[in-house]
Subunit: 338 residues, 2 copies
């Protein structure tokens, strides 16, 4: 089969590799219907994170189950499934407490930018959905990661009906955080973005205000917008020290930063600004599997349309172009069809 | 009057200084009945934080109001009062939302290790209580800071009935955090302490278990004690990078670190360990004024006896010995009588 392999800075190739096979009785093999490129994939592509050895890429996909192991009970051959970006048994204490992304049985799997994928803990990791229309596929694909991650930012930041939400980051996760804040009925949703096209998309998805400044100045403007003291809920969707500091500065005394941007490198956060203003920090690797049922219901009902973050679709054979388009910010997020 | 002045490393003196006077119509002058030395006062004493110019010391006291400004409405001459360690108007939006320690009108005052103190925003900063017995004074004094701060750690960490609480730090705030966890009906309360006398006191105050190891090893033991995954609520009462890391490592996936230890220097926290395990961080400068009413009710009813953290009482004239006793860990916390 064909799969995407990262070799190093700006060197991503689609290659012929051996087909995956069942390794345990709890595995499933899934034939990919749609996959995509994640903002965090770009760190290796840009050389920010070194690629020490060739690495299979991709951790988001929807597809059709091709084979299941002998112990798999709830997933069957032919099922259409959404795969969470991590595997989980969905039965351990940590999964049950709402944090399946830190499942005690976590193995990490990837290689979703491919034709076939082996998914461990198939019963926990895969969400079976009714065979969808073509139109629905991009929306379902976001439940593998970005929509669940945007929701985690909003949920962690305590967004609630009538409240506020300031979203730092205008990538796919930031835009999904806007959708999530609207879904939770925030009355003021500020998108921080310098990009006119993304500003417009953010508005369409629910942003009520836009701030195009960044850093200290951007945070100062946010504080001015919210009574001179800042926002109760700040949704951080970037993962750099700069974006974290901007987020903390944008929060009011006693406010919360919900952070879901994958830490880029080994960022550290100064404690004093959190301490003096009692700003809370919550978030992390989004437990998208725990959120999938409620978000799926809204996708199926047409209440949210998170697939709109895909502004480019390419065949898997053009995966290198998909990375380039996102790297050059010509695309927010690229959907790939094997 | 006499007041305590820090000159530099291990150089604290009681000196004759001018009496304070009302500077605004909202001030009060309070005659100190009891004051004390805070763990954070030791940073200057130990030279960890440089003393650039002589500085008046102390931010915790109870006393009797001697004079009030023309605009003061709720506090009268002769009232017995508890002074929060910070001043606040207790009417601004931030105070009302529960974070009076970040009051929009905050001036910071100190100099409580003295005979007289000027307190700004007297109506907000001072809590009037019925004239207490001698026996009650130490307990009331803790509401100026340490008991409220221990409660803030527990509250921020989400301690609840039947839940857990791991307390990092065996100083007066850590011991008050134990009291607070017991008051909130945690069923397992772990005190992390290497000091036998403090271990015993922690047990008397409500700790159900003791861990004497520190750092990575201490956190490993805590994780083992809690199902191999760690505690839901960790109460950090030290303020160093080491204690923060120990706290984060002790928390379970999705757990919360309530941190109230004043950051010592400019500590930074690595984001990745928070991110990968979804550990939340909450806390900061404790809004003790917001907690004072509920804690006072329990002190007056005898439900909590936080004054037990004072294991040495000295006359104000021996303030230098008070600092030395705490510096050398001969005393947990010293109460001073002018």
């Amino acid at each position: 089969m064909r799969a995407t392999v990262m070799y190093g800075e700006r060197d991503v190739r689609l290659e012929e590799v051996p087909d995956p096979h069942l390794q345990t009785g709890r595995d499933a093999i899934v034939r990919v219907v749609a996959a995509c490129v994640c903002g965090s994939d770009l760190w290796g592509y840009r050389g920010i994170v070194p690629t020490e050895r060739p690495r299979r890429m991709g951790h988001e996909m929807v597809g059709v189950v091709e084979r299941v192991g002998a112990e798999v009970e709830h997933v069957r051959e032919g099922d259409f499934v959404i795969a969470s970006f991590y595997d989980c048994d969905f039965t351990c204490e940590v999964c049950r407490s709402g944090f399946s992304s830190a499942c005690l049985e976590l193995e990490w799997y990837d290689g979703c930018q491919a034709e076939l994928v082996r998914v461990p803990h198939a019963d926990g990791s895969l969400l079976v959905v009714p065979q969808p229309s073509e139109e629905l596929v991009p929306h379902l694909l976001t439940l593998a990661d970005v929509m669940g991650t945007g929701h985690h930012a909003a949920h962690s930041a305590g967004v609630s009906a009538g409240g506020d939400a300031v979203v730092v980051g205008d990538g796919a996760v930031g835009l999904c955080a806007v959708i999530a804040a609207k879904r939770l009925q925030a009355s003021r949703i500020v998108a921080m973005s310098r990009n006119p096209a993304r500003q417009e998309l953010a508005r369409e998805l629910g942003a009520t205000e836009i701030v195009s400044e960044r850093g200290k100045r951007g945070a100062e403007i946010v504080r001015e917008m919210f009574g001179g003291i800042g926002a109760q809920s700040v949704l951080e969707a970037v993962g750099t020290e700069e974006s974290m500091e901007q987020s903390v500065r944008s929060a009011r005394q006693g406010g919360t930063v919900g952070f879901v941007g994958v830490p880029n490198g080994v960022p550290e956060l100064p404690l004093r600004p959190l301490f003096t203003r009692n700003v809370r920090l919550a978030g992390g690797v989004a437990p998208v599997r725990n959120y999938a049922d409620e978000l799926l219901a809204d996708v199926l009902a047409g209440g949210i349309r998170p697939g709109r973050v895909f502004d480019l679709q390419l065949p898997l054979s053009e995966v290198a172009e998909a990375y380039a388009a996102m790297d050059e910010r010509r695309a927010v997020k690229v959907l790939l069809r094997p």
